[in-house]
Amino acid sequence: MTEAIHTTNLNAWYGKTHALKNIDMTVENNKITAIIGPSGCGKSTFIRCLNRMNDLIDGFSTEGEILIRGKDIKDTDPVALRKKIGMVFQKPNPFPKSIYENIAYGPRIHGINKRELDSIVESSLKKAALWNEVKDRLNDNAMELSGGQQQRLCIARALAVGPEIILFDEPCSALDPISASKIEDLMIDLKEKYTIVIVTHNMQQAARVSDSTAFFLMGEMIEFGDTKQIFKKPREKSTEDYITGRFG
């Protein structure tokens, strides 16, 4: 199967606010799919539906179908679902614990044996390209790392529980350009093994890293297609207006 995520007729509401309208979308395995659009267009709401993070919000409701690897997420326990679908947030949010404990937290709650932890911590930090910078200070508090390092730590933390899909919710918007480009390189490396969905405000970023791009506007998906096509020859007028900077 090449489809990692498939949504059909997905609608979402915050109370009475209709935040997503009839989204039909397919995310392919081992690809980077970018979601672009102006603030408030529903792009974060969309990816937070995929791992049911929105369930934590009072008054949130959805209709429609979300299949992850062909399985309806309504039939999956959210805890098990989130183990399969990692998430990296806009602002780095390491736990106020040591670097080691940040990575070990996830495997530990999923019952991984103590003896395996060391190697999981090491391999996760290596995959997130952070190992060389922190290997001598694993017991330092994660809050002492720089913003970019904290974000890579959060990526390593997500990798440590062995997800298949990773959702990035504007992962670079709080970072300087050098840290941001490290994260971009990292995403390209990661797509060999993982399926990635990234929400971004930064169109250059979407153009650089993604294979397909979806353009959202006011809760609707206006256009979805190959990234090259979207940026070179958008079919819709509003997509073109947005990517050429006429609004948003």
Binding site: R82, N93, P96, G106, A158
Partner: protein, 319 residues
Amino acid sequence: MDRLRIQRGHIPYLSEFFHSIKLDRLRMQRIRELAIEKALFLCALVSVLTTIGIVLVLIFETLSFFEEVPILEFLTGTTWAPTYRPQHFGVLPLINGTIMIAAGAAVIAIPLGIASSVYLSEYASAKVRQTVKPVLEILAGIPTVVYGYFAISFITPLIREFIPDANIFNAASASIVVGIMILPMVSSLSEDAMRSVPRSLREGAYALGSTRFDVSTKIVVPAALSGILASFVLAISRAVGETMAVTLAAGATPKMTLNFFESIQTMTAYIVQVSLGDTPHGSIEYQTIFAVGMVLFIMTLLMNIVSMWIKERYREVYS
């Protein structure tokens, strides 16, 4: 031409006039501000001076008490009998009683308080929280004498139902009721501490596949630990100083015991007993209450300092 010149002459004059009015107004404003500041300062001074006054009275009365009774006997003696002959001035039984009540209350209030604060902060919906929290805080507003009455009229009979040997005045009953009394303090302050843990930390943990229990116990409680510990210490300090309920329920028998079903006496209850009794003012018996009050004051002061220190020392810095 003539009229023009007059006008020209007028303009600077008028503006000077207005300028001086403006200055006057500014000056008035400054004076008023200064007066307000001084008045507020005086109000603040009243409470500071009162505190200083109380501490000075305590110190002087305590010092004159220690001219009669050696401080070592006071602090190490195990018999407290200032009103009988032969007199004994060993404060340890009263300290023992106070610590028993505080410890018993803590055993009740800490687990219940932390469980209810975890529930309110992590499990309850906004609606439940908005109803339950005020109700819990009303508990803190009930007059303590009502708690005391509740102890002797309800808890004590209940205890004697199960343990018939229990004295009619006993430490257990008082501990339980003081525990209920300080419960809102623990739960409310701990809940505040947990709620101030940023949402992003919870989301990060949930995104890794945590259950609500994992998030509460492994992320939120550790991150809020300083506030939670500080609430424990403050609540225990409140239990140490609690007076009315223990006077009513715990009895008036200063005793070196660890048996919760016996009658005991706390420092506060002793002070009430002597203040209300017919002990003549100025006598050595009467002065004991200042010495006991001093011990009490030092204990609660230390605990408040410890609480502040914990809050500073173990404050987690997030983001």
